[in-house]
Structures are given as C-alpha cells and as structure tokens.
C-alpha cells in the first residue's frame, strides 16, 4: 500500500516535470511559419495606442507586444544569452545602444531588409547612432531628445532680459552670454539662479561637439581640449555664484523652478512632460528657446531585430509601420516621443500651439534643434568614462573642491576606467 502510494507520487512528479519541460520547449520554437511575433518595449517606449493598432493592422501574424518592466537592458541581455524566448522585435534604450552595437552579430542588419532606402527620412546623426562603424544598421530610430532652454519670461523681464524666444535665443546664443545674463539676473532679483544643474551643462557641452570621451580607435580622449572646455564651462557658473544649490531629485528641482528661483531649465524635448506633471500650476508661464551653444541630444531610443527573429521581413515591416511619420506624430501626442523623422514635424500634432508654453509652437525650436545636432561616435565605455567628470563636478559644486585638482582627479579616474574597460 505504502509502496504504491510512493510510486504514484513518483509518477506524478515525473509527469509534472516532463510537462513543464515540454512547455518550455514548445514556446520557443523558431519555426519558419511564425504564427506570432513578439515585441518587447518598456512603458512609454512606444505609444501604446499605435502598438495596439499595429496588432490589428498586421493580420498575417499575431503580434504579441509585451511591456517589460524593471531593468530592460538586463532582461534583454539575459534573454539574448539564453538564445531562447528572444523577442522578434525589441526596443533598445539610447544609453544602451553603444554597448549593443558591439554585438552586431546578435542582431539583423536592417539595411539588408531595405532600411537603407529610408535613411533620408530620418535625422542623419540619429541614424548613425544606430549603425555600427562598418555601416550596419542595428537600431531603427524611435525618438530623439533634442535639447533646448525652457525659461520663465516673467522672471527674465525683472532683470531686463529679453522675453521672446527669438530674442532670448539671440541674446544667449553662447554659454558666455548665458552666464552674463545669469549675473544680470542675480543682481536684479536676489536669490535667483540662472543655472539649475552644472553637471547637465557638462553633458550638453560635450553633446554639442563632434568628439566624446573615446575615439573610434578606442583611444581615451577625455583629457583633451574639447572635454576641458566643457569642464570649464560647467565650473564657471559655480564660480560666478549663479548655480543653484544641488537638488537630489526632480521634486526638489521643480519645487524651486516653480517658485521662479531657477528661471531656466536646460533639457530635452521630453523634459516638458516632467515640467507639466511636476509644475501643473505653472501653465502659461514657461517658454522655449534654443539652447546656448547649439543643440545636443539627450535620450531617445531604437527598435532592433535580434538574429533569432522568426520572420525578419515581417518584423521590419512592423517596425517601419510603427515608426512612420504619422505614427511618430501620434507617439509624440501619446507618450512625448519626439519624432526622429523630420517629415513628422509638419504634422498638426507637432505644430499645434502648446498652452503650457503660452501657446508657443515649440516645434519651431525643437524641430530646428533636431536637425542641427552633431554626429558623434559613442564608445561602449562612454558612460562609464564620463562618470568621474560628473562626480568631480559634484564635488566642486557641493563641497567647494578646487576645480583644478577636481579636473586632474577626474581625468586620472577616467583613464583608469578606460584602461580597465578597454581590455588591453
């Protein structure tokens, strides 16, 4: 009696186990006749409405979109390593593209599927950002993050500074002019700070140039003049006393900005969404002008097709449908995804006046910025190598560290990281 019960238990366990194994196996089949295609993106990475329409539009397959929460890159990388359950189409965040371009053999070169014919419809620098050094297109552009300056004309007026976007852009076309205006502001309205975040300026000045921290041959160039210039320009507002105290989080940042204490915010187009949600009472008080020193890019992501994709041709069709100019315009309305395709800039969704910015047509500023962003090479170790500069800038800003010793500390630390990550 007891024995047979054991047998039963054994059998039950065995069958449960094999059923589980079978279930694992069947889900990942890479059959040629793909009945379904999976699409991975993160919340806000694509317009949910456009994705829902794509599911309805593509009847030849079952498109299964999944919004992946948590650390998106980590989950993608883990799945790529497992080589099973790999999505047929996946999103790639802007900050991760450089590290995945090195793994180009794990993705399909979209140029082989006809992407090269579409290149002219997208901003060049973004297209290059999604391409490998030898010209394979891995990441198809979703959105971009052209930067500009958000400002408060009412506070500017108190200091006798220009109020209209064109005038502001003309009067503060360089960082030096911007800081001069900051000093004027400080003298006229005590307790106000023109610069909200010097570490942001560092990123933007680097983003305005043609070179970053590591060149295409893998050589560390973070100690060269272009980075030193960005450093000096970031330290300057701290020395002039026109930089606000450090704010650890967005609530803090916007609590100050809402009071008019920091009447200018430098940021990408999507920053407007944060402003609207954190400072809802400021509607109509803000305007947008071109950023001092020219535009840079901050953020923006890609769609890619992993090697394991069950139907690359169809996957590519879905991508181009999801990111057509019309659907990009919808993405802008639904999820504040700024279009990577300039032909979308003329569509009503983008040309509509924005009441938050006093009825200003912000596309005039952002659209212009989008097309002037320089092409840059970004190495996989770029973010890691740039971190010491930001950390040392924070030391200058919050602890009053001597800028020159902070610079040399930053350079030696960055070299160390470049050396380690370079692998030689």
């Amino acid at each position: 009696m007891e024995l047979s019960r054991r047998r039963l238990l054994q059998a039950a366990l065995l069958s449960a186990g094999s059923a589980a194994l079978a279930a694992c196996g069947s889900g990942s089949g890479s059959g040629a006749d793909a009945k379904e295609l999976t699409l991975w993106y993160w919340g806000g990475g694509l317009s949910d409405k456009v994705v829902a329409d794509a599911v309805k539009h593509f009847t030849q397959t079952k498109l299964k979109p999944s919004v992946i929460g948590g650390d998106f890159k980590q989950k993608l990388v883990t799945t790529l390593n497992g080589r099973r359950f790999v999505p047929d189409i996946t999103g790639i965040k802007g900050e991760d593209i450089a590290s995945l371009l090195v793994q180009a053999n794990r993705f399909i070169d979209l140029n082989t599927l006809g992407a090269d014919k579409l290149a002219s419809q997208f901003v060049t620098w973004k297209w290059k950002k999604g391409s490998t050094k030898d010209g394979k297109l891995i990441g198809f552009p979703i959105d971009i993050g052209p930067t500009a300056m958000f400002y408060r004309p009412d506070v500017f007026a108190k200091a006798g500074l220009p109020e209209k976007p064109e005038d502001v852009a003309a009067a503060m076309s360089t960082w030096e002019d911007y800081y001069a205006a900051g000093q004027k502001l400080k003298n006229a309205v005590s307790g106000t700070f023109m610069v909200q975040d010097p570490t942001g300026i560092f990123q933007f000045v680097v983003g305005q140039g043609a070179k970053r921290f590591i060149d295409e041959s893998g050589k560390f160039i973070g100690d060269q003049d272009h980075v030193r210039r960005a450093w000096d320009l970031s330290v300057k507002p701290i020395q002039l006393g026109i930089a606000a105290p450090y704010a650890a989080n967005d609530q803090d940042l916007f609590a100050v900005a809402a009071k008019g204490t920091t009447p200018s915010i430098l940021g990408a187009a999507w920053r407007a969404l944060d402003m609207k949600s954190n400072m809802p009472d400021s509607e109509g008080k803000w305007r947008v002008a071109a950023m001092p020193g020219g535009p840079a890019n901050y953020g923006g992501s890609f769609l890619a097709i992993p090697k394991e994709s069950r139907n690359p041709q169809l996957a590519f069709q879905i991508i181009t449908w999801l990111l057509s100019p019309e659907n990009q315009a919808r993405g802008f309305t639904d999820a504040a995804l700024f279009p990577s395709s300039p032909s979308a800039y003329a569509l009503p969704a983008l040309t509509a006046p924005d009441p938050y910015f006093g009825g200003q047509k912000t596309i005039e500023v952002f659209g212009d910025a989008a097309q002037k962003i320089p092409v840059q090479y970004e190495a996989p170790a770029d973010a890691a190598v740039s971190a010491p500069f930001i950390n040392e800038l924070l030391n200058v800003w919050t602890k009053g560290k001597n800028p020159d010793s902070a610079w040399s500390d930053a350079v030696s630390k960055a070299k160390e990281i470049a050396d380690r990550q370079g692998g030689n």
Binding site: N81, S99, V102, G200, Y246, Y298, N391, L394, T398, K413
Partner: protein, 320 residues
C-alpha cells in the same frame, strides 16, 4: 538575505552507523520532502555564486565572448580608490544604522515584554516597516528629506532652524540612509529579541528580585547575558545585511537617471560596495569586474562575521 536563509536551513542529520548509500536509501522521502529548498537553492543561488567566481577572472560585457584575464580584475580592484571609498561608505552606514537599531530594538522588546495592553497591535506595528517595499520607502524618504520640498525641512523651518541640505552633504547622506535602514529593521530585531526574552525563565527574575536586584541591575545582569546568543544572531544578520546595503542609496540618488546613474550622490557618499558592484556590472557592462567586487565584499563579510563570532564567544567564556 540568501545567506540568512541558508544559515537557517535545516541541516540534514546523518545516521551515524549507516554509510552514505544507506542514508539515502533509508531517508530519501525526507530528502525528497525538503528537496524544493535545496533544488531552488542549487539553481538560483549556488550555480550563480560559482558562476560569479568564474566570472571574476574573465572580461565579459554580458553578451559577447568571455576572455580570461587572470587576476587582472583584482589588480584593478586593489588600486581602485572608488572601491575603497565604497567599502568605507558601507562601514560608516552600517555602524550608523546597526548600533542605534539594535539598542532601540532591545528597549522596544523589553517594553513589549512587560505587561502592556494591546501587545500584538504594537508587535504588528513594529514589524510592518520590515515588510514594506524598500523602493517605496526610499522614494518616500527621498521626498521627506529633500532640501526645498521635504517635510523635515518644513518642520525645521517652523522651529526657525534653517533648511538642511540632507541629500547634499556627505554625512547627512549617510545619516539619511542609516535612518532609513534603522526604521526598517528595528521592528524585526525587536521581535527577535522579544522571542529571546520570553525564553528566559521567570525564576531567574524572581531569584534576582529576592536577592534585591533593581530593574537596571536585572537588565544588565540577567537579561543581557541570557540574550547573548540572540544578540549574536542579530549582530551577524545585521552585518550581513548592512554590508549589502543597496536599494536605499540606489533609489535615493536617481538609479533611473540616464546621466551618471547609481553614483551614490554628491561626493559618492551613498555609494555602497554593492551599489558599486551593481553599477560596474549591470550599468557599465563590466561583469567580470563586478564579480570581482562582489567576491571582495564576500571576503569582507566573512571576516566580519568571524570577528563578531570571536568577540561574542570570548565574552561568553569570560562570563562562564
């Protein structure tokens, strides 16, 4: 947490006379019954642990091929000032949190052990922080301690004390993180102490009373010595947890920011060893170096646990 669970796991008792094979044949249903634990432990803990040891000698970006680099990761680690800073931060935060936490826990446990009404209400109330999501708590504390927006500074303003930039200064950053940990773990330790207190025979207290001991003397001469093994347990668990502080500084200082994420804030004052490990491995795609950091932290924890053990053991011998 894994280490805690592993320590608490039941040890299989071998029948002394039977050989290895005989044991399995006799006790396999028992082994089968506890198999979910060790199978899961094997797959989700032991294999990754061994893999990370292997990784510590490789260079790997997470997707491509691994290259064997020997001790190179450790050579970098020894010279890496950021690593030493992160260890220092971890220790300071650990001391700032563990000392007040364990003292407070003991006081709370003693209070709960005396005859107050609604004891179970208090017990639940003290335990709730421990089962609340750390991420939620950290976001909440980040808001409460923010300079211009935070509740703490509003209250300080009422008292005519100027606003304190809690999340800017090197020491206040550590204090905020330590406060958060204390808040979360005090109740947990209090419950453990309470269990220990209830195991102390009342005869001892009665005898002490007859001998004329006051409450303070009773506390130091009876309660504390009797609780020694429990205190050792809480110190060891707090050491293991304290050395692994991660979520609090990660959430407080913009783990989601795309510029310089997981830096630990100004002066990298909140950069703990595990946060540094996470940043190098999962942020900067240097998994080999991340694994090396993790193993270095493991050695430090091992050292400290042994030290704690020796310290308490010796006292026990002295007491005996």
């Amino acid at each position: 947490m894994t280490a805690t669970r592993a320590a608490a796991a039941p040890k299989a008792r071998h029948a002394p006379a039977a050989g290895r094979k005989g044991v399995l044949r006799t006790y396999w249903p028992q082994y089968l019954a506890i198999s979910p634990f060790y199978l899961l432990f094997l797959v989700f803990s032991l294999v990754p642990v061994l893999f990370s040891l292997y990784l510590a000698f490789q260079r790997w970006d997470g997707v491509g091929d691994m290259t064997f680099v020997g001790l190179r990761n450790f050579q970098f680690l020894i010279k890496d000032s950021t690593f030493w800073l992160s260890l220092y931060n971890t220790f300071v935060i650990w001391i700032l949190s563990t000392v007040p936490m364990l003292m407070l826990s003991l006081v709370i446990a003693v209070l709960l052990n005396s005859n107050v009404r609604f004891t179970s209400v208090y017990r639940i109330a003290y335990f709730i922080p421990n089962v609340t999501s750390i991420v939620a708590i950290a976001i909440f504390f980040g808001a409460v301690f923010s300079t211009n927006f935070g509740l703490v500074n509003v209250v300080l303003g009422w008292l005519h004390i100027g606003a304190v930039p809690w999340l800017t200064n090197e020491w206040t950053i550590k204090l905020v993180i330590a406060f958060l940990i204390t808040w979360q773990w005090t109740g947990y330790n209090a419950i453990i102490y309470l269990a220990g207190l209830q195991a102390i025979p009342t005869e001892m207290y009665e005898a002490a009373k007859i001998d004329g001991a006051g409450p303070v003397q009773t506390f130091f001469r009876i309660t504390i010595p009797q609780l020694r093994p429990i205190i050792l347990f809480t110190v060891v668990v707090s050491t293991i947890n304290g050395m692994q502080t991660f979520t609090e500084p990660q959430v407080l200082f913009g783990g989601n920011a795309s510029i310089n994420p997981d830096s630990g804030g100004p002066g990298q004052a909140g950069l703990t060893a595990i946060l540094y490990f996470y940043r190098e491995a999962f942020g900067n795609n240097d998994y080999g170096y991340g694994a090396a950091i993790a193993w270095a932290v493991f050695l430090v924890i091992l050292l400290f646990t042994a030290l704690n053990w020796r310290l308490v053991q010796r006292r026990e011998k002295e007491a005996a």
